[in-house]
């Protein structure tokens, strides 16, 4: 009797072990499938012209996504030029000065903004930028992406600054350095690799954002570098090509996706390498 109970317990243990292993396998399986398909299907169209040519009309062979690559870089850099200072300084405020009502309100706002679906940021930029300007533009796209970028970077900046020991600050102040200088030159510099990692991770996220760009930057079939005009972006091209009914555009979508994931992964790896060096 006790023997069968022991057997059943051991058997259940073994079965559950296999169930958990299977779960882990099923969790990583999609990743392999996605990368496999991206490489197989994306490589078909991956030639030099993809990176340097404008899109061609349907049915005409060749053509590329050069305007989208340029647009993605332009919109991302545009977003970061004002978002990085705003976010880093806000993070400094929260970590170094923030006490009382303002800081808890800001913290709550940052938490809330982090959870807002990205398409809502598109609506926001549409109402505030597209409607007054009466046209879709790179400005509007960057405005939408800023709303995603800023809260993430505020949070990581605050967290990273909090890892700097108080003794470092006290040491600097004891030497008679003005507090603002001590903050920027000692505290922020000590935490900088971590902050930069946060900035890079946020950047890799906005590079792939699509939903908030659909009705802000809109996309463009031609070269466009003016900030007040509709601008192309790789994620938008992937979307447009994927839902089109044309076979050769589907191939372009896969190639564009391969380019996009390469950009995202390179930045991700850079961020990881940076964090590792810090330790």
């Amino acid at each position: 009797m006790t023997g069968t109970i022991a057997f059943r317990r051991k058997a259940t243990d073994r079965v559950m072990r296999w169930v958990f292993t299977l779960c882990a396998f099923l969790v990583v399986l999609p990743l392999f499938l996605i990368f496999f398909d991206l490489v197989i299907k994306g490589a078909k169209e991956l030639r030099w012209t993809l990176l340097v040519d404008l899109p061609h009309p349907v049915g005409e062979p060749g053509g590329g996504i050069a305007n989208g690559i340029l647009g993605t870089i332009v919109i991302t850099l545009l977003t970061m030029t004002w978002s990085v200072p705003v976010a880093v300084l806000s993070g400094i405020y929260l970590a170094e000065y923030g006490r009382g009502k303002l800081s808890s309100a800001v913290r709550f706002a940052v938490d809330t903004l982090t959870g807002v679906p990205s398409i809502i940021m598109g609506i926001f930029a549409y109402i505030l930028v597209v409607l007054p300007m009466k046209r879709f533009s790179a400005w509007a796209g960057a405005a939408a992406l800023s709303m995603i970028f800023i809260p993430v970077v505020v949070r990581t900046t605050e967290d990273m600054l909090r890892t700097v020991p108080t003794t470092v600050r006290e040491g600097a102040l004891a030497l008679g350095i003005a507090r603002w200088k001590a903050t920027l030159r000692i505290t922020v510099r000590t935490a900088w690799p971590g902050i930069l990692t946060g900035i890079l991770l946020a950047m890799s996220r906005i590079i792939g954002e699509t939903a908030p760009l659909i009705f802000t930057a809109l996309g463009n079939q031609f070269w466009q570098t003016k900030f007040d005009q509709p601008m192309a972006a790789v994620p938008l091209q992937v979307f447009t090509y994927a839902i089109s009914p044309y076979e050769d555009w589907h191939d372009k979508a896969w190639a564009g996706a391969l380019v996009l994931i390469t950009m995202v992964l390179l930045i991700n790896i850079a961020a990881r390498v940076l964090t590792r060096e810090k330790r």
């Binding site: 243990d13 882990a24 990743l31 300084l89 800023i150 600050r169 792939g208 996706a257």
Partner: protein, 309 residues
């Protein structure tokens, strides 16, 4: 925190400047809410609460109701949780309790990479790979043999509520997995060893100790995953079928709140635009409440763990 030393003007200026930028962030959050509220007001005044329970979406007659989109968002997210939660928790248990040391880092790195993939790429993969697999491998056979159950009724097109749910599940797994792992790690080692030393098997240890200790945390992780799933746009738009009707069958097309905004916003005007913004406002409020709940549950969990209970 360093003590406040003598206030020289430069110090004061720097503090004020950083406070100003922090206020900008606060202002943006308030502005976001205010702008959505103002712009959705025409639709809110016209339709009122009936907006939530009306199923018509007719730009020609200017009659708008959000029910099909609410339904699609809720059902697709629910399917996603149904698949993602058991898989993530199981994988988390495997990584934390069973995996050989050399396997832990790669598996969690791979799961993290899943979170970094842009959602438009999930959508692309969904359209061309996942939907055909589901269509021929799962939906067609199910519709053929179990078609008398309303949930599995044909015809089978491919893009469907089920496809959206499965794709969403893959997308939210990394988040539920990483939170579950943190929750599992809060179980005191002594308690686990106590069960093992009494002669319990690994599974019994997991069932007893982790089951009693971690359920609130896993619930928190689930709610967090729900928050992600509700607002996901591109992937859902690309595989859900985009048809503003309500079907009992999971194999039929559906629509979601985020998807209708993505599809119709650029060309909408007047009352339709206002209605879309109202849907956006609702979506924002729902994700806000869901995220707040998840945070509340999880922080309570962490507080309990830090007290070592």
């Amino acid at each position: 925190m360093a003590p406040r030393f003598g206030r020289n003007p430069a110090d004061l200026a720097f503090e004020k400047a950083s406070a100003f930028f922090a206020s900008v962030v606060l202002f943006l959050a308030v502005l976001l809410f205010a702008v959505l509220l103002r712009e959705s007001f025409p639709a809110l005044r016209k339709f009122g609460a009936s907006f939530l329970v009306t199923g018509t979406w007719d730009p020609v007659l200017e009659r708008f109701g959000a029910l099909p989109f609410l339904y699609g968002t809720v059902v697709s997210s629910f399917i996603a949780l149904l698949i993602a939660v058991p898989l993530s928790v199981g994988a988390a248990i495997f990584i934390n309790e069973f995996a050989p040391p050399w396997l832990k880092a790669p598996v969690s790195l791979l799961a993290e990479l899943l979170a970094a993939i842009p959602s438009v790429i999930y959508g692309l993969w969904g359209i061309f790979i996942l939907v055909p697999i589901l269509r021929y491998g799962l939906m067609k056979p199910l519709a053929k043999y179990l078609g008398w159950i309303p949930l599995f009724k044909g015809p089978v097109y491919g893009p469907s509520m089920l496809a959206a749910g499965v794709l969403l599940a893959i997308m939210i797994i990394p988040f539920i997995l990483s939170v579950s792992r943190e929750v599992l790690a809060t179980v005191p080692q002594r308690q686990k060893e106590a069960v093992l030393s009494l002669g319990g098997t690994r599974w019994e240890m997991i069932r007893i100790v982790i089951g009693q200790h971690c359920l609130p945390g896993i619930f928190g992780a689930t709610i967090l995953g729900l928050g992600r799933a509700l607002g996901e746009t591109m992937a859902v738009t690309m595989v859900i079928g985009n048809r503003p009707e309500i079907f009992a069958s999971l194999f039929q097309q559906g629509y979601s709140m985020a998807a209708v905004i993505a599809n119709e916003f650029a060309e909408a005007g007047g009352l339709q635009l206002s209605s879309l913004i109202l849907i956006g406002l609702l979506l924002m409020l729902v994700t806000f409440v869901v995220n707040l709940a998840a945070k509340g549950i999880l922080s309570k969990m962490v507080a309990r763990a830090s007290r070592g209970i």
